[in-house]
Symmetry: C2
């Protein structure tokens, strides 16, 4: 007889939670005017496109590394990306990459200690939570950019 | 013979994760000059103190309601809070309240469907993730306020 421990959250639920956030981030990218997406800044910070490139450098490559064990170097710069459509295309490709490699992570690996991008130590879950939290953080910054441009951002609670 | 399912994350880890975020949010409150904490705004948004009051209205009361099952009305306004010290005191009291009531939530309850503040439906975990994500979101907005005031915010990755 097996007694299973109730899962607080399972891997499928966590992926759906993240992809819901990623769908919202995509709408925030879309909400920016073409020019301001790449050039607008407050207080000496990066453009929102610059922040999105950081997210693109972390999310899909991070999950690929966790799934395969093959260490990659952190790269947050994407040459030649100067248009919203290019950024959205990279975003959609990352969505697929995350879904593909996520399936290859065994559930028991989530509590294991790992090192990501050859330098960041934590458990698998804490690493993935960092990816998600970092996205929410920068997207929150993007909301202020939009508001200061007179643009109403998408609702925070809409994730579909 | 019992076979236990590996937990992706357990309740103790999730609490520590959130309290780590809450410690960072406390440092962001501290980083604001007294006056700007309550008066500074970009793009017609609330002051950071206004956002913090929303967080205070959600986090501790939400956990208390989840633990006790006693429905409370969502209250995001705190009368007479006009100083940083008052806000930090409320923050620290919320830290204790969250810790106290968290212990009273059985682990199996995290996957159950609940309604919070008498109106928001979800699982226990998705409700709590909302509390955390909403805090990260508004704190990200606060980072832009600080940067635009010429103040360097605390490191996002420091949570102790």
């Amino acid at each position: 007889m097996n007694t299973t421990t109730a899962q607080l959250i399972n891997a499928t639920e966590l992926l759906a939670h993240w992809q819901g956030h990623r769908a919202l981030t995509r709408r925030v990218i879309e909400a920016f005017p073409e020019k301001e997406l790449f050039n607008y800044s407050i207080g000496g910070m990066r453009s929102f496109a610059g922040m999105v490139m950081e997210l693109l450098g972390i999310g899909a490559p991070g999950i690929q590394e966790i799934a395969t064990g093959k260490i990659t170097e952190l790269n947050e710069h994407f040459e030649g990306i100067t248009q919203k459509e290019q950024l959205l295309k990279l975003w959609d490709e990352a969505t697929e990459t995350i879904n593909t490699y996520w399936e290859q992570i065994p559930e028991e690996k989530f509590s294991e200690e790992i090192t990501v991008f050859g330098q960041y130590k934590g458990t698998t879950w804490s690493s993935i939570f960092y990816f998600i939290d970092n996205e929410i953080h920068h997207r929150g910054e993007g909301y202020v950019y939009l508001r200061s441009l007179g643009i109403t951002p998408p609702f925070f609670f809409e994730r579909a």
